[in-house]
Symmetry: C2
Amino acid sequence: MFNFKITAKSKETRARAGIINTAHGSIETPVFMPVGTLASVKSVSSEELVSAGAGIILGNTYHLYLRPGCDVINLFSGLHGFMNWDRPILTDSGGFQIFSLAKLAKISQEGVSFQSHIDGSSHLLTPEKAVEIQNCLGSDIMMCLDNCIAYPSSRDEAMDALKLTTSWAERCKKAWDNGSKAALFGIVQGGMFKDLREMSVKALVDIGFSGYAIGGLSVGEPKDIMLDIADFTLPELPDNKPKYIMGVGKPEDIVDLVALGADMFDCVIPTRNARNGQLFTNCGTINISNSRFKYDKKPVEHGCECYTCRNYSRAYLRHLYMSKELLAYRLNTIHNITYYIGLMKSMREAIIENEFEVFREKFYNSLVTKKKD
Amino acid sequence: MFNFKITAKSKETRARAGIINTAHGSIETPVFMPVGTLASVKSVSSEELVSAGAGIILGNTYHLYLRPGCDVINLFSGLHGFMNWDRPILTDSGGFQIFSLAKLAKISQEGVSFQSHIDGSSHLLTPEKAVEIQNCLGSDIMMCLDNCIAYPSSRDEAMDALKLTTSWAERCKKAWDNGSKAALFGIVQGGMFKDLREMSVKALVDIGFSGYAIGGLSVGEPKDIMLDIADFTLPELPDNKPKYIMGVGKPEDIVDLVALGADMFDCVIPTRNARNGQLFTNCGTINISNSRFKYDKKPVEHGCECYTCRNYSRAYLRHLYMSKELLAYRLNTIHNITYYIGLMKSMREAIIENEFEVFREKFYNSLVTKKKD
């Protein structure tokens, strides 16, 4: 069921436009996936996601495994039925969140043992278990359990994590072979060491996956290092498979990474920052709490077709935000998701028209005019 | 522009169905007005209110005067433009919230001086100022400044408050005469003393208003006293004007008060309780956090046409609520508002069909089956 086709390639960069087909329909790439941690993209409904143009969302296995749990989601034959979302879903493996949220996470060859951040209960996540949970979630694209390390890390640490990631990837593939309907993506690790990234790619390609993700970026490293590692690693991955950069990023990062050949992105920035009052526009970000918006009758962005911009002024959004009204978080989130998805769509069109570099120049020129408005 | 027509009367009770016409369209009575304190019915959009069947909402003058302030709302020619709501709006006078929220509220013949609960700034609300602010808000139905007292209160306290309310009502009427486009309602006070209620009604009717509200109920008194005072006061009010019971109440209270001849209601119960997980059904309330809903695939109420019930299960709503997901508050609120407005609609139909008592019996019988489900 799962396949990936490249529709167009930019001549001057490595940017490409494609289509991913899944059991829940097709996704046009490059694509941004809003994060729906707990079976909800915070503050917005499934209908609003569709209106904002979202073609796929991401669910977090760690969170959903703990709450509501697989027994509940199983009753609905997976996340789609549970949360009333009928487009594709990608699920992470749970590993990243265990390291960042759970208590007493301990890594062994077998897997990761941890205590729930909610009730302290003890759990063991193995590669096999990660696949089993993602099967239960009804994921369209599942991710291998990986060992993501912090920045900076020593070469030895990066090597150890890479070896473990490779061994877990093999076990995930084996568990997945046992009748999963979803696609399975491998995750490249190797820290900021190019030879280790190369080693990781080769090992994963030998195992063979439906797509490949680059993990371990956006973990605190400077942007030039992130781009350098992505620039090195992306062309190493098979061109006929989707290439996914995990957890990145700002609009500028995404534009640069698309130029380097990345197809898929997820990040909490548009949704989390919306809840903190930060709104994205073609001229950069604005913070809606700023007093200069108190009497501003304009929409967040002139010409934006999102529900928020079609119906509400900056003055109203500022008022809601200052008053901590729940509607504030939703209206801000709708705008930011629409912005991110519109950005992906513009890039896709530019690639197809073979005008990606023109687009990129315009995109950066527009950012420079920031705060003029 | 403003007028009220009675469409049908129940033969066995004092219940009546009518139509109120305003500059922003007509409202079918009996009507429930969701509370939109700060230019937002908490967690829901204007479109969702329309889908839930809301014909009119209430705005709180005290809150809106302090935040965002009349200068901001003036830019949008009133609340309608500011919050993107084109149906009628009723605004209270601000008095009730000053007594319950503001610091150092001091009542004099002139008005109420108080300090903002937000920044401590000093203000004076006079009857003239209350009308001026409500004019600026672009209200369709504005309320006179009144002096609402706590329960229990002595006869002397009730008498003093009633006299002040009458004097303020005269001044509101005079200020309103000066070119307001809205309707102006008088508010009956008099505590739990029937002769004082009668005195208040007579004084207000002498001044002459577009409609009459009964204030000072639901301030802590037992339900039988509330109903007794309403039962006494409602028939004293002119039958050709809308009769509004302020701040009430539970569905049972509203059904009983409609039977006694009340036309209009507002209350935070459906919206506030939604945010605390309490959902209204024909068989009584449920609390969605209850563990018995963990695996419950049913909607909140079978046959309910609200967005929430059409799309989501109790298990999903429970999960969202337990996870403190923002979507929980919205989905719960949509259901509860739909329930309240559906209840009003059912009563109206029953009155028109002259089957109000049959309806009321069914309504109570259904409540008795509570928690069977």
